[in-house]
Structure formats: C-alpha cells, structure tokens
Amino acid sequence: MTPSFLKVEGLARRFPGPAGTPGVTVFEDIHFGIEKGEFVCIIGHSGCGKTTILNVLAGLDEANDGLVIMDGREVRGPSLDRGVVFQGHALLPWLSALGNVAFGVRSRWPAWSAKQVEEHSTRYLEMVGLGPALHKKQAELSGGMKQRVGIARAFAIQPKMLLLDEPFGALDALTRGTIQDELLAIVQATHQTVFMITHDVDEAILLADKVLLMSNGPGARIAEIVEITMRRERTRNSIHHDPQYYRIRNHLVDFLVNRSKGYADDKMPDHDPRQPPVVRPGLEGGAETLPLPARTAPVAASIHPLKNLSA
C-alpha cells in the first residue's frame, strides 16, 4: 500500500503545569493518515486538543513526540504548502479584503508584478462571492464575509493541503450553510486535500470523506475513523433524503454523548490507537467495526498497557 499523502505517527503534546506540578498530556499516540484529495474532519469535545493537532500540522506548534510527514517530507515549521484558515479569521484589519489575500499571494510568488498579484487575488475573492467587497476593510465586512476572505487567502496560495479550524463556528446557521456549499463546490472542483476541525456533526457529514473521532482529554486519542459512505456529489438539501445520513449522524452523536470518555491511559485494551477502527455506520449490518489495513506493523506488545513507542 502506498503511504498516505499526510501521515501522523505517534503524535503527543504535553504542556508543563505550573511550577512544581506535573504537566498535562493533551493527547498522545495519535495516528492517522490523509490521502491526496481527501476531505477529513475531526470532531471531539471542546478542549480535547483539536486546535493543538492542527497547529502541529500547520507547523506553528511542535509536538513532544511523534512526527508528521506530508508528501514524503517531515513537517518542521510553517510552510506555504499548507494553507490555514484560523478559528478567528485572523484578517489583518488595516488591509482591505484584497490586501489580505494579496499579502499571501505576494509571499507565494515574489516575482509576480503588482498587477498579476491583484488579478490572482481578485479571482479568488470572486470565487467566494466577494467581488463587490474587494476594497472593504475588516470592520466593514460581516462575520461571514470575513471568514470568506480567510478562505480565499488560504486557497489563493494554492497549498497542497488546507487546514481549517472551526471556520464556521461563529456564524449564524444561514450564513454557515451558504459558505459550506461554497466550500464544497470549490473543494470538489479543485480536489483540494483538506483537514478541518468542526464541532458540528452535520457539517462533518456534509463535507467529509472520513471523520476522525477524538476522545476526551487529557490523554486524548483517535477513537474511531468513520467513513462517510454517501455519494460524493451530495448537497445540503438532498443529504437528508439518504437513509445513510441518519445512521451516520446517530453514530457520531452517540460517540460524542456516550463513548468519548475513557480512552486515555490505554484503559481500553481492545483499542489500538495505532490502528483506530474504521467504521461504516449503516453498512454491512449496523455500526460494524472493520480494522484498517495495516499502515504500521502491528506492535506485538499492543495488549500491554505500557508500550514502548521508541522501541
């Protein structure tokens, strides 16, 4: 089997506690892979470490253990290969929408003329429906428009991978729906590889090819990988007609409500964080658990509560 486009192996992040106290392990033993062109969502309770994982993938934060490999190279520090859409849009408020997008474009193609930069940036802003608002500054943009600028900025540098941290969390339901549709259309057209954090189960089902379920912290793990088995050409309006939708939805909600606890400290002997079970709810008779084909060699000592990762 060819290695995944993005590979996360044994990732762990610990923060030191206040002087004298032991620190906290936010998550450890995180393993997963993302294929080229795949849209992966991660859901989990607030504080389990989703943003921290995304920051490590982005290269903004360093893990204490494990590594991230993208396209055959280890991720060390931020790169234009990975576009980030931040949780709080993070626009530079003294620049216009166009200025914000152009800021990244100029960095990506330093040799371009001002005209080229402007044309390219304008094209991406028009793609997210901001053609009429090119010269508006942040204070004149609505919440949805700001997030659109953030998305345009990330897409415009044509990264190999897009990282989104709850991009629509602060938006009203109507705006969120519209931008989800736009994002879906752009991703389907460009076959962009995406890793996205969300706390919205419906959003995950609509957008993702697979959903990573993260258990509660401290000591969070990837508990399951849920494959979204519906047709890729789904839309927000048609999705409810698919009986699969409710099976998947129930499975995700059930995880968040009932099953997200108790994965820490290897308390679940059947659960191998190196190969989180892949689940296809509703297919082949209920929420069946299928083991993933081996990506890493199975560890002989996996029944042991204390595995030596460095061995």
Binding site: A58, G59, L60, G77, P78, S79, L80, R82, G83, V84, F86, G88, A90, L92, P93, W94, F103, G104, S107, R108, K137, Q138, A139, I157
Partner: protein, 280 residues
C-alpha cells in the same frame, strides 16, 4: 429622542469666556483708594501700580492690544533681547521638533527590539524604570557641562524627555501584537523583515502614535522651562525676559500662545494617530 443642538457647547464656551474676561476686567480696573504699600515693592512695580490707582496686572483690553501688536509684526529682530514673539516661538518649536525627531529615531527601533525580545526587555527594564522618572531638567547641568553649548543642551533635554513615552509605548505595542496575525505571517512564510514592516509596525502603530503624542506634549512643557534656564532665544526665554521687564501683558500673551501652539502640536499628532488607527 433629544433634538441635537450642536451650537450649544460653543455657545456655553463663549459665555464662559465672556464671564472670565468680565471678571478679569473688573478685577483689574484702577481703584482710587490709597493703599499703604511696601516702599520696596512700590519702587519695583512703579508708584502708580503699587498704590492701586493702576494695577501692574493688565486689563483684558491691554493684553488684547499687546497681542494685536505681536500679530502685526511677529518676526522682527532688534537684537538679543528684542525679538518678535513669532521668532521666539519658531525657535522653541524648532528645538522641540529636532529633539523629538531624534528621540523618535532612537525610541522606535529600540522599542521594536525590546518588544520583540523578552530577554532584552528584561535586561533593559531596570534602566528604563530608573531613567524614566528623572525630571528632564535634572539633566541640564550635565548636558551643559559635557556638551558646552546651551542650544544643543536644550535639544538634548527635549530628546531625553521625549524618549521614554515613545520607547515604552513602542515596546508595549510590539510585544502585544496579536498572536494570530503573527501566525498568519508565519504560515505564509513571510520574511522576518516583511513581518516587521507589514504586520508588526501597522499593528503597533496606534500605540506608537499614542507614545509620540505624549512625548510631544511633555516636550512642549519642558521646552519653556529649559529655555528659561539656558536663555538666548525661545518662548521660554521670552517669558523670563518679560518678567525682568515686568511686562505682564507680554507674559500673558506668551502664555496664551504657548497654550495655542501646544494644542496645535497635539491636534497634529492626533490627526496622524487617526490615520494609522484601524478598526477591528
């Protein structure tokens, strides 16, 4: 909803001003009552004034006339002790702008470095904390001794007093640039130099401008005192000289103009501050 009356505040201002001038006028009217005065004081301020038939305190009319005289010919030069009030103000403004600009050239880059590096911040903090509260005039003798030029010494004093607010504000503004904005620059692989000029500088600009505004205000306060000490030229020297001439009308005119120029400088910097302010 209350009807807006934009003319109300200016009207009140005018009334207050009229009241003030009226009381001043009444208080300085010549009185006929003979008053026993100290002969030395009488000799100093003139017999008429001392006995109260004519106060040394000018009436508003006299100050007005004096001001008019100054406005008609502000830039004359009839030797060291007799220059137009405009010339004197120009000297003072020149010193302030020079000292202030030099301070900005030092404070903004240094504040940038301090704000970017917590280590340098910690290392320099004790010095800043001790140097900041020193009255700039306390430096004057040291400046006169080392520089040996009264003009440059006055500029040095302005430099010193303008330095601290700009330094502290720049460091604070730079240190508190939103993490998110810096992360944006990092994920876009923007070079450190471009990040400094295109992210940190615009982000910290409003705070830096606040520091500049405070600095110019202090510099304008200090220049009057400094020029009283070093003499020669400037509005501070003018005030001191007129005290020696006992021309209270001239002193009041100068006080008024000092206030007006101070307000102008502040307005100018407030304008600049508004130009770099961004709304979030």
């Amino acid at each position: 909803m209350k009807p807006s009356r934009p003319w109300l505040a200016p009207l009140l201002s005018a009334i207050f001003f009229a009241l003030f001038v009226g009381i001043w006028h009444l208080a300085t009217l010549p009185t006929s009552a003979a008053v026993q005065v100290d002969p030395e004081y009488a000799a100093l301020v003139g017999q008429a004034a001392a006995t109260g038939t004519k106060s040394a305190m000018p009436t508003p009319g006299e100050v007005g006339a004096k001001l008019w005289e100054h406005f008609r010919d502000p830039f004359y030069d009839k030797g060291t002790n007799d220059k137009g009030i405009g010339t004197q103000l120009a000297f003072s403004i020149g010193r302030v702008l020079l000292g202030f600009s030099l301070a900005a050239l030092v404070a903004v880059p240094l504040g940038f470095v301090i704000g970017m590096s917590p280590l340098i911040y910690k290392a320099l903090d004790p010095f800043i904390q001790v140097l900041k509260p020193i009255s700039p005039l306390a430096w004057m003798p040291l400046a006169l001794y080392t520089i040996k030029d009264s003009d440059i010494s006055a500029i040095f004093v302005i430099f010193i007093c303008s330095l601290w607010p700009m330094l502290v504000n720049t460091a604070f503004g730079v240190a508190n640039v939103r993490r998110d904005w810096l992360n944006v620059a990092r994920t876009l692989e923007v070079s450190r130099l471009r990040t400094a000029f295109q992210v940190i500088l615009p982000a910290a600009a409003p705070t830096i401008m606040t520091g500049m505004r405070i600095s110019v205000g202090i510099a304008w306060l200090v220049i009057v005192a400094a020029e009283m000490l070093v003499g020669g030229t400037g509005i501070g020297y003018f005030v001191w000289n007129e005290w020696n001439n006992l021309s209270i009308a001239n002193i009041i005119s100068a006080i008024l103009l000092i206030g007006l120029v101070g307000m102008l400088l502040d307005t100018l910097l407030a304008r600049l501050a508004r130009a770099v302010t961004y709304r979030e």
